[in-house]
Every structure is written in structure tokens, then in C-alpha cells.
Amino acid sequence: MLEVSLYRYNPETDEAPYMQDFSVDTSGRDLMVLDVLELIKADYDGSVTYRRSCREGVCGSDGLNMNGKNGLACVTPLSETVKGEKLVIRPLPGLPVIRDLVVDMSLFYAQYEKVQPYLQNPSPAPAIERLQSPEERAQLDGLYECILCACCSTSCPSFWWNPDRFIGPAGLLQAYRFLADSRDTATEERLGKLDDPFSVFRCHGIQNCVNVCPKGLNPTKAIGHIRTMLLNRAT
């Protein structure tokens, strides 16, 4: 039996959140944490609430805090996360809880939208694709793969403090994805929008984002590049 402690909160019936314990029969299998949640919802308590979709780590729905670490439930095996007795599952930290493991991601998405995450190039497009060398395209590797799961931003103390003013690691990774794209011509405008004490410079290089990213991406490095671009621009 696997001992699971789940964060529960229903705004209609609970005055405060609480932890609820379940003993789950996993038949000794090394399940993914999402499988455990599915088991609990099917066999123990149908009201347990969480998001899920692809179940293979590409849609970014099921970012959760498992035994203290943010990650995707669908690609986190029990053997990786349960070192002691118990599996403790909480919602991603720092965002308002809607219900149980479901958080309100509006602030997170707002910061993403702030960086104008779309290609900007006013010159008339050619009849075929815009050409880009493999080397230029390689600059986007490690950036475009972000799945917007929010594991990084919600593990970042700077984002906890200033979720409305610090773009956060996920948004900044995408800001740099377009700064780094040889086809994008809005570099100056993009940097101008980021050039304030909060948007970028609240990053203190803590690197929680790097430690938790389920796709192995490195937002801190991208933020470093933006910082350099901003400093070069100032001089």
C-alpha cells in the first residue's frame, strides 16, 4: 500500500484547506504519480480534482508539487519521488488555489502574454518560407520546447514575491526564444519593454527553475542572455 497525503480544498464547503490521507493499492507497481491520482479518483474519492491531458509530459497540464518538488505528475514515477514512506501532493505553490490541486494560472499566462510571444517581422513575407540556417535554428533549441506547465515560475521565490511585475522564468524563456530567432526583427522593442527594475532584473539566479523543469530547459541561462542584451543596449 502506498500512503498518499493530498491537499484538499473545495471553496464551496471548506473554510480552509486540509490534507487528506489515502492508502492506495498500487500492487507494488512503479506507477506515475498521475496514475496514482487516477486510481484515487476512480476507486477512492471521485471528487478529487486535478488537471490532466496528454499523460506523456508534453501538454503541461499536470504540474504539481510532489514531496516538495514541482514536476509533471504524468512523468514522475513513484520510485523517483517517494523516498520515505509517503507521497505528499500539493498544488503548485504561489498561485491562488481554485480547488484541490487546481491553481488559478491567470497571472502566469498574463506574464507570458506580456512578452509578446509571437514572431514579429513587418517586412513582406516571401512566397516560400523565410530562410534560416541550421545554425540559426539551433539557437531556438532549449527555448521553444517550453510546455507552459508553470513548474519553474511557481518554484521561483522572485516570482512568489512579485508575480505581477517579475515576468518569471517561463515568460522570460519565451521572451528570449523570440530575441534569439533570426527571423524576428523586433529586438529593440522587445528589450525596451523588458528594461525596468522588475521584469528581468528580479531574477537572482537561484536556479530553482532549472532544477524543476520537466523538459530539461534552462531559463536562468536565457535570462542571463537577456540581461547581457539589456546591459549592452544601455552602454
Binding site: N10, P11, E12, T13, K41, A42, D43, D45, G46, S47, T49, Y50, R51, R52, S53, C54, R55, E56, G57, V58, C59, G60, S61, V75, P77, I98, R99, D100, V102, M105, Y109, E113, Q116, P117, Y118, L119, N121, A125, A127, I128, E129, R130, L131, Q132, S133, P134, E136, R137, L140, Y144, E145, I147, L148, F178, D181, R183, D184
Partner: protein, 587 residues
């Protein structure tokens, strides 16, 4: 119940829905997308290998007509040739638009979009050998596509109702579709979303099977809503089983693996596809490869202690190719198969992947039905595109890389057509309160029900029936048993009970509504599969092993209310090329 009004409402925030939305939003019409998940969580995100299109990058001589030939052949000749012609000829323009929007395609040394070989592809109408026609962003093409479309919808200020669930269609007294009833999942509020044009882009329903590459959310919501509203379903017996789902987990491993040079082996290490498809080998049509794998397993040459899977060998490609061209596959394989493809082969098994059937439409996305004398008629107000639609470009078997092309081309076409129609003026009579109440009755009944069975065991039972009775190989007797089991299950599914009555983010309620949609889709599949007594494309009958062009060179059409199956003609009249005549299909 509150009413919200739009010029166009798109149900579904995947590739097709967001491409349609983008077109409409750019036109300035008041457009909304209703999506039960945040759009980038839609299943398009899981597409890996690429988007097939004759953009003439890998081969400057490439021709969309060759792509058309392959697609018609792949469909086993029940793909509509006018629709395939439209998709293949308009395709390059649609791909270049995506690139201009910022999609991070992989590149060739010349700076053009990288294209890889995929199954069923040829040059010069099957005469010139294997083509490389699938445009790729590494093995994350769906992710790159979906995020690019979402980003461009942000740019064009499309209105998104994210985490809203469409329950049922609202029809007026004339039978025209005038919007949907939808629930805001976060608050539980139910709203009538009124629209002059309602576009279904709700995706597939792979969750009718126990083993599927599909996301949890692929529950056939559009099919359920359509069938309940009297909209027919076409070619529902045609389900694609992807050759390479990871054994045990069901997660997809792209055909691009074989495109890059990987191949399947049985327990003796034999590259068995050489026996089944001497020319195309591992890059034969997916239906052909899936059947060959099942035969290997049935004849005792499967791998593992139970001999119930085969293996996909990639290690000979070398670490560099695998990490640069197939990085996502390496990751998935390590996570779900505990196998490092750089060193050892991946255990794989044919797994339910794609619904070739769906709501019949024309090339403008207009939903069709047939009148008493068998003529196509447009259903006013309703459109469909992407996997839920059956245009039909895939016929009895879809080629790899054609689903992403289908969804961008026909999402775009739907948007263009609706834009024009709105400009010309769409006049539909308002729904009465009775019409709206009728659309809300299923939800009403679910909310009012005091007792009944729980959703999870019912869903499990449904998936097991479909898996066991309607798999890769089918027989009449066994399918009739399956249909009887479904008959028994129907009332129980209709009477499913809520495990949770709250309003706030009630996923139990959504799962009950989804179960009923799964059921409608499954039943349509079962009944039509039993009726089509021939083997064609993905539909392989052990009791009717031959293709029967005399009786079945046609679409099947299924009506939800009467459960009757009829036939509908396939289009054999493309506008700019000669008809491709049905031939024996070999690879």
C-alpha cells in the same frame, strides 16, 4: 441561463480550432474559442513526426499531385478526390503561412524547411521510389504548431473561453445550428453561447479503446453532440492503429523513427516488414504495418515473455541522429519503456491512434447530411474541421503527417468560408426557450440524478468491449457480441451518477458528460464496422478478407437516432487532375 453572442464560435482549441479561429479573428468578426483545456494542452501538442506537404524542399521536383496520388492510394480509394486535391494543392501555402507565423521548423543546409520520409510516400505517382515530404520541427512538430497558433491568436486578440465545456448543440425550429450550451468548469455556470456559425474542432475519440496513444481528453465530444442532434457520422468503422505505441504505456513513437531509418524486428531479430511489403518495407501504409505486426505476434514471433509485442530498432542510427532528429522519442522511451533507444530497441505494439471517420463535410467545412433521396444537403450553421470532421481526405487509412495538414488546411478553409458567409449575411432564426431547454436536458438530467453507477468502471467496461471486439482484426460474430454488450451498457451509461455535486471545477461532472460522448462514438463505430462486410484500409475483416469495390467503394453513413447504416458516394471528380482509379493496393 445567460446568453453570450458571437459571429463565430469554435468548439475546440487544438490545431484545427485555432487555425479556424485565427482566420476569423483576422477578419474582424467577433470570434470565440470554447476549449475544455487551456489551448496548448490540446492533443495536437502530442503530434511528433511532422506535417506532410509538397513544399519541394527535400526534392525541388516534388509535386502536390504525387502527394495526392499517395493520399488517394493510402485511403484505399474512399477518400474524396476533390477534398484531397484541395488539401494537397493548397497545402504549401498553408505551411508557408505557419512558417511566417514563426513555427520553428528544422532546417536544411539551404535554410529551407527540413522534410523527412514517412510511410506511404512516393515520387512520380508511385513510380519514383520513396519521397521525403514530411515537414518537421525535430519530433515535436505538433507542439511547435500548436504553440505557434496559440501565439498568433494572442496577437490577433481571439476571445478564449478556456476550461469551458460544450455540452450540446442548440438547434432552432428550422433545424439550423445556432450555438451550444456550455459550462464554465471553474464556476459551474451554464451559458447559451449563441452563434451564426458553430465550428466543431473537437478532435478525436481514441479513449473509446483501452489502449490508445490519445490524451485523456480525446473523448469524442463533437461526435456525441452531433449524433444526439441528428447529424450523421461517416466512416466510423475506420480507426487507425498506429504501429508504434510503446508497449504497456500506449504512448506514441513517431513513424518518423522509421522515416529516419529505424525498423521493426521480431523475436528472431528479423526485419519482418521485408516479407510483407518488399518495396516500402517499414514505410508501408500504417494499416499494412499494424496488421503485419499483429500477424507476427499471432504466429509466435512476438517479443517478451508473453510474445505480445515487437521491437523498433533505432540504435544503428547513432546517438547524434537520435538526439538531434528524435530527441522527444529518446525522452519518451526512457520514461515509459525504460529503454534507451541509443542502446537497445523499443518494445512497441499497434495502438489506437486516429479516427478517420467523423462528421461529413464539404471542403468549406460545412457539415452535411443526406436527404430522403440520398442527395447531400448542408446543415445550416454547423461546420467541422480536423479529426472530428470527415471531409474525407483520409478515407479508410490516413497517411502519417496528413492529419496536421488536414487540420491547418481545413481549419483555414472553414474560417475563410465563414468569413465570406458572414460578409454576405447569415440569417438564422433565434432559438426559442424550448430549443435551448432541449439542448440543456442531458446536463439537467445528470445534475438531477440521485443514484446510478460511477463513471470510472463504466468507462473501463466500454473501453474493454471496444478493445476486444473491434481491434485490428475483426469478425462478424465477435462484433455482434460486442454490439450486444454495448446495448446492455447504454442505459447504464445514460444513468451514470455524479460523484461530486459542487459547482467549482467539478471534473466528475465533465467526465460523466464525456463518457456519454465516448459511448455514442463507440456505438457508431461498432454498428458500422459490423455492417461493412469487406476489408479496406484499417478495417480488416477475417470473415471478409477481400476489398469489395462492387458494394463498398463508398462511405458509410450512420444515424444516431435510428442506428441505421447507409452508403454515401465517394467523390471521384477532382477539378484539375484526372481521377485516380481504384487499383490493387500494395507497398
Amino acid at each position: 441561463m445567460r446568453t453570450i453572442s458571437f459571429d463565430g464560435v469554435i468548439v475546440g482549441g487544438g490545431g484545427a480550432g485555432m487555425r479556424a479561429a485565427l482566420q476569423l479573428a483576422q477578419s474582424g468578426y467577433k470570434t470565440a474559442v470554447i476549449s475544455k483545456v487551456f489551448p496548448t494542452r490540446s492533443h495536437t501538442v502530442s503530434a511528433q513526426g511532422g506535417i506532410t506537404c509538397a513544399i519541394a524542399s527535400a526534392d525541388p521536383e516534388d509535386d502536390w499531385r504525387w502527394h495526392m496520388y499517395d493520399t488517394v492510394k493510402g485511403s484505399d480509394y474512399i477518400g474524396d478526390q476533390d477534398a484531397i486535391e484541395y488539401m494537397c494543392s493548397v497545402g504549401p501555402e498553408a505551411i508557408f503561412e505557419l512558417e511566417h507565423m514563426g513555427l520553428p521548423f528544422s532546417r536544411t543546409e539551404e535554410g529551407r524547411i527540413y522534410q523527412r520520409p514517412f510511410g506511404g510516400q512516393s515520387k512520380n505517382f508511385g513510380e519514383g521510389g520513396q519521397a521525403a515530404r514530411t515537414c518537421a520541427a525535430a519530433d515535436r512538430t505538433g507542439h511547435a504548431l500548436l504553440h505557434t497558433l496559440y501565439q498568433n491568436n494572442i496577437k490577433n486578440e481571439t476571445v478564449f473561453f478556456n476550461e469551458w465545456f460544450a455540452v450540446d448543440l442548440v438547434k432552432n425550429q428550422d433545424g439550423a445550428v445556432v450555438g451550444v450550451i456550455a459550462i464554465c468548469i471553474e464556476t459551474g455556470e451554464t451559458v447559451y453561447v449563441k452563434s451564426k456559425a458553430t465550428v466543431f474542432a473537437t478532435g478525436g475519440a481514441g479513449r473509446i479503446y483501452a489502449s490508445t496513444t490519445n490524451a485523456h481528453i480525446n473523448t469524442g465530444d463533437g461526435m456525441g453532440m452531433a449524433l444526439r442532434a441528428g447529424v450523421p457520422a461517416q466512416d466510423m468503422e475506420m480507426w487507425q492503429f498506429h504501429p508504434t505505441g510503446i508497449y504497456g504505456a500506449g504512448t506514441l513513437v513517431t513513424e518518423g523513427c522509421r522515416g529516419e531509418g529505424g525498423y521493426l524486428v521480431n523475436k528472431d531479430g528479423e526485419r519482418f516488414m521485408e516479407r510483407y511489403a518488399p518495396n516500402a518495407k517499414d514505410l508501408a501504409g500504417r494499416d499494412v504495418v499494424a496488421r503485419s505486426m499483429v500477424l507476427e505476434i499471432l504466429e509466435g514471433r512476438g517479443c517478451g515473455p508473453n510474445g505480445d509485442h515487437v521491437k523498433l530498432k533505432l540504435d544503428h542510427l547513432g546517438e547524434d541522429v537520435l538526439e538531434s532528429r528524435l530527441p522527444g522519442i529518446c525522452e519518451l522511451s526512457r520514461t515509459f519503456a525504460h529503454v534507451d533507444p541509443v542502446k537497445e530497441p523499443i518494445p512497441v505494439v499497434p495502438t489506437c491512434h486516429y479516427m478517420m471517420g467523423g462528421i461529413p463535410t464539404n471542403v468549406h467545412g460545412q457539415a452535411l447530411t443526406v436527404d430522403a433521396s440520398g442527395n447531400d444537403t448542408v446543415i445550416p450553421g454547423l461546420y467541422a474541421c480536423g479529426e472530428v470532421a470527415c471531409v474525407s481526405v483520409h478515407g479508410a487509412n490516413r497517411l502519417g503527417g496528413n492529419s496536421l495538414l488536414d487540420l491547418v488546411v481545413f481549419g483555414r478553409a472553414s474560417g475563410l468560408f465563414i468569413e465570406k458567409s458572414l460578409r454576405d449575411g447569415i440569417e438564422l432564426r433565434d432559438a426559442s426557450q424550448t430549443d435551448i431547454d432541449a439542448a440543456g436536458s442531458r446536463l439537467e438530467a445528470l445534475n438531477a440524478r440521485a443514484s446510478g453507477e460511477q463513471v470510472a468502471p463504466l468507462r473501463h467496461e466500454l473501453q474493454e468491449i471496444m478493445q476486444n471486439h473491434f481491434g485490428v482484426f475483426r469478425t462478424g460474430e465477435f462484433m455482434r457480441e460486442g454490439i450486444a454488450k454495448l446495448d446492455d451498457l447504454r442505459t447504464r451509461v445514460e444513468n451514470v451518477a455524479l460523484a461530486d455535486r459542487s459547482n467549482a471545477f467539478n471534473t466528475s461532472r465533465i467526465e460523466c458528460l464525456e463518457l456519454q460522448n465516448l459511448f455514442e462514438t463507440a456505438e457508431a463505430t461498432a454498428i458500422v464496422a459490423e455492417a461493412r462486410d469487406e476489408s479496406r484500409g484499417a478495417h480488416a475483416r477475417e470473415d471478409f478478407t477481400e476489398r469489395d469495390d462492387e458494394n463498398w467503394l463508398c462511405h458509410s453513413l450512420y444515424q444516431g437516432e435510428s442506428k441505421k447504416v447507409s452508403k454515401r458516394s465517394v467523390n471521384f471528380t477532382p477539378q484539375t487532375v484526372e481521377t485516380f482509379q481504384p487499383m490493387a493496393r500494395s507497398y
